[in-house]
């Protein structure tokens, strides 16, 4: 498709990205872009952020050689990038500390955020508590049910959690409602967007704060193996842990980058959230990218067992990496993800988030096909404690949080 993006448009990744948002929010994103451009190269800001990463969030996260899994699969050597060991149990804290600190420097006193599985909401509420800011989190009512423990966790941290009933009551509706809330109250409020999506400059800001993942993988891999990995893989919803895992390898063409989408009940069914596999080009939530939609551009209801991947779009930089072929995107079903969830728990004693289990599932398929001298890094984006009850129910147990 030929594209005629506006000459005045900013924040493009190939043909994707841009700023498709109401005029009411334009000065807010411009203010954010100006502030980010100033602080991203400010030594004091970076010193403070590194201090928070290392002394509050438990960075650098471990790069762990999964010996049992490697031997069991009998192919490539497998390393796990343990973002599940971060404070709050997922990669989301990397972005929230960055955006929270930036918002504070901008004089904002309140953070608002959307959340799907609740991990980003918990991370935002955590940072708000730490930095002494007000916090309001918007969450689909269906997700509040699926992730009841995280709802209480956010409240415990001092945040107000607002149930979103519109649409499908999931992540996309939470994003829409947070955008609406931002148009209501802008002056003192920063929208702490949780993934590498939305209008410019969010995809860039979120990617930069998550890029700490690939910066560490590269350094840790050179220390352990003296070379680059052959494959880096991560799960993709909006795509923030994946873009963070990929970023510092994009120019290293020998490294295969693989994003694992949620196929739900299968890409040949309507109950899927695999955007690259089933979506097409569109404009939604502030960006041009790929979206699951019908022939008239109505955004499709999507489904995945994983509330964190249950989103009908993908970040614009991923859309570009797909177009150029630099990254590959594969779809993993609920069944495969649940199998991988159990597999990693039993094999390595690590319970991954059901989101991260999508990446583990693809590694289970890929590793045996690769020679033993190749190296795969799987980013375990979060820990699976939050999912235990739901997986038990999936397996037919009568267990509730």
């Amino acid at each position: 498709m030929s594209e005629n993006n506006s000459s005045t448009s900013k924040g493009r990744f190939g043909i994707h990205g841009g700023q498709y948002i109401p005029e009411t929010l334009m000065n807010a994103v411009i203010e954010l872009e100006d502030a980010y451009n100033h602080y991203k190269d400010d030594p004091e800001f970076n010193r403070e952020l590194t201090d928070l990463y290392n002394n509050y969030a438990n960075r650098p996260s471990l790069l762990y050689y999964a010996e049992n899994m490697t031997k069991d699969l009998g192919g490539a050597k497998i390393y796990l990038k343990r973002e599940d060991l971060n404070h709050t149990g997922a990669h989301k804290i990397n972005n929230c500390l960055g955006q929270g600190l930036l918002a504070k420097k901008m004089g904002k006193t309140r953070l608002i955020a959307e959340t799907g599985a609740g991990q980003h909401g918990v991370a935002t509420a955590t940072v708000a508590a730490l930095l002494g800011m007000e916090c309001d989190v918007y969450m689909g009512v269906k997700d509040m049910e699926r992730q009841a423990l995280n709802v209480y966790r956010m409240r415990l941290l001092g945040a107000q959690v607002h149930g979103v009933e519109s649409g499908t009551g999931t992540l996309k509706d939470a994003v829409s409602e947070t955008m609406r809330e931002w148009t209501r109250r802008i002056n003192d409020t920063h929208y702490c967007l949780g993934s590498c999506m939305g209008p410019h400059p969010f995809p860039t800001i979120v990617r930069d704060f998550q890029a700490v993942i690939s910066r560490e993988i590269k350094q840790q891999m050179l220390e352990k193996e003296g070379r680059l990995p052959d494959v880096v893989m991560a799960c993709v919803g909006g795509g923030s842990n994946a873009i963070g895992s990929f970023y510092h390898f994009i120019d290293d063409k020998s490294v295969r980058l693989i994003g694992c989408e949620a196929a739900g009940r299968g890409t040949d069914t309507f109950e899927t959230a695999a955007t690259i596999a089933t979506g097409r080009l569109g404009i939604f939530h502030g960006m041009k990218s790929y979206f699951c939609q019908d022939e008239y551009g109505q955004i499709a209801p999507v489904y995945s067992i994983s509330a964190g991947l249950d989103y009908p779009g993908i970040g614009p930089e991923h859309a570009m990496l797909h177009d150029s072929g630099r990254a590959e995107y594969v779809a993993i079903t609920d069944d495969e993800a649940v199998d991988a969830f159990e597999y990693l728990s039993k094999t390595e004693g690590i319970i991954p988030a059901i989101e991260s289990a999508h990446a583990v599932a693809y590694a289970k398929k890929l590793a045996p096909t690769l020679p033993k001298d190749q190296i795969i890094v799987i980013t375990v984006s979060g820990r699976g404690d939050k999912d235990v009850a739901a997986i038990a129910r999936y397996r037919g147990e009568d267990l509730h949080d």
Partner: protein, 260 residues
């Protein structure tokens, strides 16, 4: 019927601009409503093409979008309805919808079909100045005007937006999303003056207007008043029987605006 240009809707007196979501509760009712709106004194009509995730709308218009889509309304069915409507009304009509409805349909195809069914322009609340060209260029090529919006937060952007504005400028009265408000505190007069200092183009104020007094007050500070949620609320309440109620409401609003 003979079509009136957008700017001429503001020529006689201040303009009253009602909004309706197409297909709420069904397209037959929408057609009847628009005919009655013209008879009640509406000077221009905004026809909403429903979108699954309308991020600039409050709960009332979100509800209308959902009802229309659940009822099976599509962009093509709306084009057919408007084509028929154009044989019955002469006031300008503009589509109000979201970027993806136009983009996903195919930019050229959308503009061609919109022009063919007799509308004069488009309002896309999620297309700000920076992204405007992508839509305005193909619109213009088909003789359609893309209406620009300005908001209480626009400040220094108003002059730039006004310079290239076409049709009329939609002045958003308040922060937040569409919906009824008890009072409007923004200095809308200052916003309108800033537009006029750059471009002699009509300015109409929308968001939050629901009474004849508010409409007259806003029209007094500009060239017209836009009302959506208060009308959609009547559709929500009376469904297929809303035509008469909407006629009465639009008449009271249009009379107040024309006297302003």
């Amino acid at each position: 019927m003979a079509e009136i240009a957008i700017k001429d809707a503001f020529a006689q007196h201040k303009a009253f601009i009602p909004f309706i979501t197409c297909g709420d509760p069904d397209l037959e009712t929408t057609e009847k409503i628009v005919v009655k709106m013209e008879q009640a004194g509406a000077d221009l009509v905004e026809l909403g093409i429903p979108f699954s995730d309308p991020t600039a709308e409050g709960p009332v218009i979100q509800g209308a979008n959902l009802r229309a889509l659940t009822g099976g309304v599509t962009t093509d069915k709306i084009f057919d309805m408007v084509k028929n409507l154009r044989t019955k009304v002469s006031i300008p009509m503009v589509f109000m919808t979201y970027a993806n409805v136009v983009y996903s349909y195919g930019m050229e195809k959308f503009m061609t079909n919109a022009k063919a069914c007799g509308v004069q322009g488009l309002i896309l609340p999620d297309v700000p100045y920076e992204e405007k060209e992508e839509f305005a260029v193909p619109a213009k090529a088909h003789g359609l005007e893309l209406v620009s919006l300005i908001a209480p937060t626009s400040h220094d952007r108003i002059r730039t937006i006004a310079k290239s504005a076409e049709g009329f400028v939609y002045c958003v009265s308040s922060l937040g999303v569409t919906g009824m408000r008890s009072e409007i505190t923004t200095d809308v007069k200052a916003m309108v003056d800033l537009v006029k200092s750059e471009n002699n183009i009509p300015c109409a104020i929308g968001f939050g207007i629901s009474t004849p007094e508010q409409a007259a007050d806003m029209a007094g500070k500009s060239d017209g008043a836009i009302v959506g949620s208060a009308i959609v609320k009547l559709c929500e309440k009376y469904g297929k029987n809303s035509v008469g109620y909407i006629y009465e409401f639009v008449k009271s609003m249009a009379d107040a605006v024309h006297a302003a």
